[in-house]
């Protein structure tokens, strides 16, 4: 069993084994060993190469939140049975919402021909506009059914492109 951890746009293959307070981690095919202890207040102390680090973490579903050295990370975890290559699930054909926010406008309808660079969807979050453009020439399909003025969530499918 291995895990794929996604942080922003970077994906990492991670395998962790623990024995008591020791752990061995395979992080993108590099092996590290260290030990850890859990504190009563929820902190995790990690000792790796004589370096001591304190982390806080929490999770919900497949989301993991970690605070480490003043950085608040947002991690998506996916477990895979085979420790194979990380597959690219998101291709040029699929455009997801980069933000959680309001759908301001849909500039085209399903089935219409669009060109690379065309603005397809306009979103708004915290008074800022975000334009989602077509990554290539193609035919628009599976345009989001969210209504103009309604909310969309980060990672939600906005539209797909099919070949003509």
């Amino acid at each position: 069993m291995a895990d794929i951890l996604t942080i922003g746009s970077s994906k990492h293959n991670v395998k962790l084994r623990r024995t008591g307070s020791n752990f061995t981690i395979d992080f993108d095919n590099e092996i590290f060993e260290g030990h850890f202890s859990r504190k009563n207040d929820g902190r995790l102390e990690i000792i790796l190469n004589d370096n001591r680090t304190i982390a806080y973490s929490d999770k919900k579903g497949n989301e993991i939140y970690v605070h480490l050295n003043g950085i608040n990370y947002f991690i998506i975890k996916k477990s895979v049975r085979v420790s194979g290559q990380v597959s690219d699930e998101v291709s040029d054909d699929v455009v997801l919402s980069p933000i959680t926010g309001k759908l301001l406008d849909k500039k085209a309808e399903d089935g219409t021909k669009v060109s690379k660079g065309d603005v397809i969807i306009i979103l708004e979050a915290m008074k800022m506009e975000h334009r989602l453009i077509s990554p290539r020439d193609g035919v628009l399909s599976k345009l989001t059914s969210a209504e103009v003025g309604g909310q969309v969530k980060e990672g939600e499918l906005m539209f797909e492109l099919e070949d003509e």
Binding site: D3, L5, I7, G8, S10, H12, V14, L16, R18, F23, I25, F27, F32, G34, F36, R38, N40, G42, L44, I46, L48, N51, T53, A55, Y56, S57, D58, K59, K60, I64, Y65, V66, H67, L68, N69, G70, I71, N72, Y73, F74, I75, K77, P98, I99, T100, G101, K102, E124, A125, M126, K127, M128, H130, E154
Partner: protein, 491 residues
Amino acid sequence: MFTKILVANRGEIACRIIKACQEMTIKTVAIYSDIDSESPHVMMADESVEIGPANPSESYLNFDKVINAAKETNSDAIHPGYGFLSENGEFAQCVIDSGLIFIGPDPETIRLMGDKAESKKMMIEAGVPTIPGSDGELSGNIDTVARDIGYPLMVKAAAGGGGKGMRVVLSPEDLESSLDAAKNEARNSFGNDTLILEKFLDSPRHIEVQILGDNHGNIIHLFERECSIQRRHQKIVEESPSPAINNKIRKMMGDAAIKAAKVANYKNAGTVEFLYQNGDFYFLEMNTRLQVEHGVTEMVCGIDIVKWQIKIAYGENLTLSQKDVKQRGHSIECRIYAEDPSRNFLPTPGIVHRMILPEGPGVRNDVGISEGQEVTSAYDPLLAKLVVWDSDRNSAIDRMDNALANFVILGLITNQPFLRDIMQNKDFIKCSFSTNFVDEHYANWAHPEIPVELMVAALLGTKSSGNEPAQKSTRDPYSPWSSKGGWRQGN
């Protein structure tokens, strides 16, 4: 003193104002939109009134709803905070007309200072330095006007905005072509091709002076704040005193700010903003409200600005005199936003699962979120203002860097690593920066490399998933979890 104040705002500033009221034993009323029903400001206030949907124009910006909430609750006064209705002269007038007190300057002052052209004219007449330029429409020999102002200069459409009809002119040879281009752009964009010339400041600092004035003609300043560290024209790090100016400039700036406040007949707390470059400073605008960054002034001067706002609005005399106000030590504020600095400061809404604030000597947290709360895309992504104080600037920088490292917010991506980079930046530490600082240093900021420890924490932290008693160690000798044998926990 007032019996009850309605706070017409949300987030950290509403909490800040409610705290001041609590200390003055004044009752408070919070207003909230439907998605804010469990926000900290609602929890803190004595009473609260729901005033409509998330969209600000239907709630926090709606005159009638805000004023009706104040009347229904028998409030004496309304504190607008910053943003929303705080600089709306028409709203201030409506508050007064409905028999309530508006905690801020007169409506006429708000209106006047909101008009950039009119306020500039007023400052010139009062002898407050403004950015040198042609006053009004260009006429006569433009070459001479340009030479008098000095190069580099800027051609601007009088009716302009948003960068349209604007040209930077570096030398006399470029003047004519720049004028032509700006004229065309101005005509097409605004239907008005009137141009003005202004001196171009290529690397200015933003330095502002805090003002307090009462209803009886007393006006003092609480010295300056340095606010040059901005992203997308919004301040993210502020400090006081400004490391860029000496005591002579400091005094001149303070005097100019008082002059500006006097000519505007200024009452209550306000801020006179200046641009500063090469020993000269120029009036930029006056903000007729409490500023986001008022905390650094409070730390350095030891004066509670919000309490003074309330006392002044009630009609009390400003009992502080200018010579009572002293700057002591150094204070820095960092604005903690739910945004991703590696993606052009894109807002990053989410749920706050856990929050642990940094503490220790000289650390102040002005926070507007709480655990379990959802930070939505409906409002400004400011989560908290982290303010530190120490005896000198370098110590304050170290204290801030450390406090940022210990500010835990689980569930959101925040700009903390970016702020820490600034605290460690050599030019920032050397005080060598202008408003161009973020663009010059961080045009392509990227997150630091992912440490192995992060992966360890992500996987170890979650395998226990926190709260199951089986994973918790206990010192209780009778606890079944410390029993050594005999039975096994189910799995």
